[in-house]
């Protein structure tokens, strides 16, 4: 071993090295590899369907999202087991033997192997992208009414925004929607939703306004009907999230976003604010109640009646306001749905200056 030129000449042929290495690894010919492959595949196929990590699916689009997640889970579990298995096996099989100071085989690459493992992720992400696109379209994500950034609401001051939503739909020209978000699914594209509700996010509550000037702090919607939420924010960013619907949409001051979906399973589910909106962000929760269409009608008629009676200072309405304007932790400790506040509090929202920035 004299100079760097001659070093290259004593390289042991790679073929010899690899054949030695194959001999040592006699235990793992094609059979055990395919056995491991089958086992991994069976486990991932089973676990992809039975992970139990997702909450109840209560909307029409939820099973679509879950199907997508289950496929991704299956692929992930497969890759996880295969790669971690290879790592663990390498640690066991190829750990340095005591006293062995030699190097391993000088394998610097393998073009066909590298092509294979470039092609595998390419195929996987293509499948996932196409599948995701399809699910997104079925959910209504590409409904042109909801997914194009045409215009914005011109200017929203804290006062006029809430006033607009109190007046129902009049804040926006109907049929010329400016919303972004999730629209109608392809089957009902171009048709009006069965129920349209204005949603206002404010620190730290959700306020729901139904046609006919019915206001509520909880969201009631009929099962099996198309529901459209027009979501706005009064002060800062919020996000409307119902985990059981697999739907989330930011509420953005100065913009209106739309969420259209069909609840399927009657029940009571949480509405969670998912965008940091201030100190009591964690307490900004409400409830969505999916009623049967009959129950929903009964509920809605009662609300209309009490709205006409001027009896809006009903505790159902007031729940939304329970959380607003609070700055002391004691009141936040109350369960968000417990406090009942009279109508004066609703009126109090309007002049409430959340914009400290003057």
């Amino acid at each position: 071993m004299n100079d760097s030129e001659s070093r290259g000449l004593v390289v042991r042929p790679v073929a010899e090295l690899t054949s030695n290495y194959m001999e040592r690894a006699k235990l793992s010919p094609a059979i055990s590899i395919s056995a491991a492959g089958v086992a991994i595949t069976v486990i991932s196929l089973w676990y992809g369907q039975n992970h139990g990590w997702l909450p109840e699916a209560a909307s029409q689009n939820a099973p679509l999202v879950d199907g997508l997640f289950n496929l991704m889970m299956t692929i992930s579990v497969w890759l996880f087991l295969a790669i971690q298995g290879a790592i663990v096996l390498a640690i066991i099989k190829f750990r340095k033997q005591p006293g062995d100071e030699t190097d391993g085989p000088p394998i610097e690459g393998n073009l066909s192997l590298e092509l294979v493992w470039t092609a595998i992720p390419v195929v996987i992400v293509m499948v996932l992208a196409v599948y995701s696109f399809d699910v997104y379209q079925q959910m209504g994500g590409l409904d042109p009414m909801a997914s194009h950034d045409h215009t914005r609401i011109a200017k929203v001051s804290s006062g006029s925004a809430i006033a607009g939503s109190l007046d129902g739909d009049q804040g926006l020209p109907h049929g010329q929607n400016v919303a972004l978000g999730i629209g109608a699914n392809p089957a009902s594209e171009g048709m009006d939703a069965d129920v349209t509700i204005d949603v206002m996010g404010l620190q730290y509550a959700w306020l729901f306004t139904y046609p006919g000037n019915v206001m509520a702090g909880e969201l009631h919607i009929p099962a099996g009907r198309d529901v459209e939420l027009n979501i706005q924010a009064q002060d800062v960013l919020h996000a409307f999230w119902v985990p059981q619907f697999r739907l989330k949409q930011d509420a953005i001051p100065g913009r209106m976003s739309k969420l259209r979906f069909r609840p399927e399973t009657p029940g009571t589910y949480p509405i969670v604010c998912a965008e940091l909106c201030g100190a009591f962000h964690g307490a900004m929760r409400s409830t969505v109640i999916v009623d049967t269409p009959e129950d929903y009608d009964v509920w809605y008629q009662t609300q209309i009646a009490s709205a006409i009676d001027g009896d809006a200072n009903d505790s159902r309405v007031a729940t939304a306001v329970g959380m607003t304007g609070l700055s002391d932790a004691d009141r936040m400790a109350l369960h968000p749905h417990a406090p009942a506040i009279d109508a004066a509090a609703i009126a109090a929202i309007t002049p409430m200056a959340h914009h400290h920035h003057d």
């Binding site: 004299n2 004593v10 100071e101 595998i120 992208a129 950034d149 100065g254 964690g282």
Partner: protein
């Protein structure tokens, strides 16, 4: 290059040795020596890691119960804002700069960085930035709009604290840009003559890609923060809807930096891992060019995927689809890297020391983060998990399981070079075991929390999630404890560790061809490139390996 010590007028000591000695005081002042600056980066960033880690632990203690009973509502948001900001801008990014500073000149056979004074300047922007962030916690209203500081919330949470946050991030961003200028110039222009681009260690490729990302994206964050501070102080309304502004524009500008920032934090670590695995597996890196190019591909793609953080922000449908596709494509170069690393250790002769354990731990933890990353790229699924604990789990697998594991691997690997003493292996393994267990216990269950319905950044949550949260908190405490053996090990061995040889691992890259620690201008004479960076296994005769590389080098030189 430490100019002052070289200039005769400034060194009054009469006997002038060929290479001036390093003085401990050098580490406490303005130095232009890349190795001193690197150590300064390491120590400062690690101190902030401990501070931000203490914040993380307090966050987890708060979340051990569903009620706000430890930090309280207001403090919680302040702590979580600073935890994120510090971990990113004061720990992982500067820790990457620390490795780059130390290793790049040594790896390419240079005496120092291209612009030593600029280098010192870049470092000295970090401590004021960090101090400003720490002080902001004492402001009447600390910054509490999260590390993203989305307006309008960030415009309403108090001017003083928020402005301190902006200034701190601007300082740290400037430091990062100046570092990037230096790294690019050094890598492209300062290599020894024989070293072509494809003879560079892969860490240099990774830093080249990282620096390009820094130079492209960090300035845009500066632009966003300039506009934000006008909104905050001067009463403009760029991002304030009440004056006609648009908060979504901030989000675009912010993520145009902050998504690439993820790669700014992980690419250097990819480089470290590519350099550590072959040494301790005694095998060449598998697919050098594929790994080098995939770094560049990731850097390129990293610039065109930012809006995947905004799938629920009211972005148009076509935009969401474009960013979904672009994001998923990143899985390809990332996959190439992971497969190549596994193939590198496969069939080698693995020395399972602390550096190798952390490096392999990196590969397997980053794999989890990568898999969940592909999931959240999918728009329909992301709509469900966006801003939930699933995301918290995902990015901690990338940034802790990825970056931090890799940084630890790098420290165990290069500590002998930097300090001249070996770290204790037993304590290193204890450190690894505690980190690995604590990390997975803390962060894996968060995937389930997010899927089930727990949003992130909440101090108060549905009591149904209390059990899983308690597991996470236990994990976080193990994780906090795991730093103690490391700290003890690093400090003890600095003074009393076993002396390190110039090349304790029998590695082939140039930094191992000089003494440990290297002399002030790195090499006695310009080093000779006598092998590729990863040409392991070329020597067949076993006795060859008992001799040190330095001996071999001496032989080679003697023949020349």
């Amino acid at each position: 290059m430490s100019v002052s010590t070289l200039e005769p007028t400034q060194t009054p000591q009469p006997p002038q040795p060929k290479h001036p000695e390093r003085h401990w005081k050098d580490f406490f002042g303005f130095s232009t020596d890349h190795k001193v600056i690197a150590i300064q980066y390491f120590v400062v960033s690690f101190v902030f890691y401990l501070i931000a880690g203490a914040m993380a632990t307090s966050i987890r203690v708060e979340l051990a119960t569903p009620d706000a009973d430890f930090l309280g509502y207001e403090n919680y948001n302040g702590v979580l804002t600073l935890h994120g900001t510090m971990m990113i801008f004061l720990w992982i990014v500067p820790a990457g700069a620390a490795f780059a500073n130390y290793l790049i000149p040594l790896m390419i056979g240079a005496k120092d960085m291209a612009f030593p004074v600029l280098n010192g300047l870049a470092f000295w922007l970090v401590p004021p930035g960090g101090a400003l962030l720490l002080l902001s916690l004492l402001a009447e209203t600390p910054p509490s709009a999260g590390w993203t500081s989305y307006p309008p919330l960030s415009l309403m949470t108090g001017q003083v604290g928020q402005m301190m946050w902006i200034l701190a991030v601007l300082l740290l961003g400037t430091s990062s840009i100046l570092g990037g200028v230096n790294f690019v110039t050094t890598i492209l222009k300062m290599r020894i003559k024989e070293m072509g681009l494809y003879d560079m260690p892969l860490f240099c490729w990774a830093m080249l890609a990282t620096s390009m990302l820094i130079l492209i994206s960090t300035p845009v964050l500066a632009g966003a923060l300039i506009l934000l501070s006008f909104d905050l102080l001067a009463g403009t309304a760029f991002f304030n809807p009440t004056g006609g502004g648009d908060p979504i524009v901030y989000q675009h500008m912010f993520w145009f930096y902050s998504h690439p920032a993820v790669y700014i934090m992980i690419l250097p670590v990819f480089g470290l891992i590519s350099d550590i695995l072959p040494v301790h597996a005694r095998k060449p890196i598998f697919g050098y060019k594929a790994i080098a190019y995939s770094s560049l591909a990731i850097a390129f793609l990293g610039n065109i995927v930012w809006a995947h953080h905004m799938f629920t922000s009211g972005t148009p449908g076509w935009l969401r689809m474009f960013f979904m596709a672009a994001t998923m494509v990143i899985a390809v170069p990332t996959g190439i890297k992971i497969f190549s690393w596994v193939a590198t250790i496969w069939g080698g002769k693995l020395r399972l020391n602390s550096a190798m354990l952390f490096a392999i731990g990196f590969v397997s933890m980053f794999l989890v983060g990568g898999l969940s990353g592909v999931m959240v790229a999918s728009v329909p699924f992301d709509i469900h998990v966006h801003d939930t604990y699933f995301i918290v789990a995902h990015f901690h697998y990338v940034l802790f399981g990825g970056s931090v594991f890799g940084i630890y691997a790098g420290i165990y690997h290069w500590y002998p070079k930097m300090v001249g003493r070996m770290l204790d292996e037993t304590w290193g393994k204890v450190h690894f075991a505690l980190t690995f267990v604590g990390f997975n216990l803390c962060f894996f269950p968060m995937h389930i929390l997010g899927l089930q319905g727990m949003p992130r950044r909440v101090v108060q949550y549905d009591p149904a999630f209390a059990d899983i949260n308690r597991i996470c908190t236990i994990g976080s405490i193990i994780l906090a404890v795991s730093t103690l053996p490391f700290l003890f090990n690093a400090v003890y061995c600095w003074f009393w560790g076993e002396k390190a040889l110039p090349n304790p691992w029998n590695a082939l890259t140039l930094e191992w061809q000089t003494s440990s620690p290297p002399i002030i201008e790195n090499f006695e004479e310009e080093p000779v490139l006598w092998s590729g960076p990863y040409d392991y296994g070329i020597d067949s005769e076993p006795e060859e390996d008992t001799r040190s590389v330095a001996d071999l080098l001496a032989e080679v030189k003697a023949e020349m």
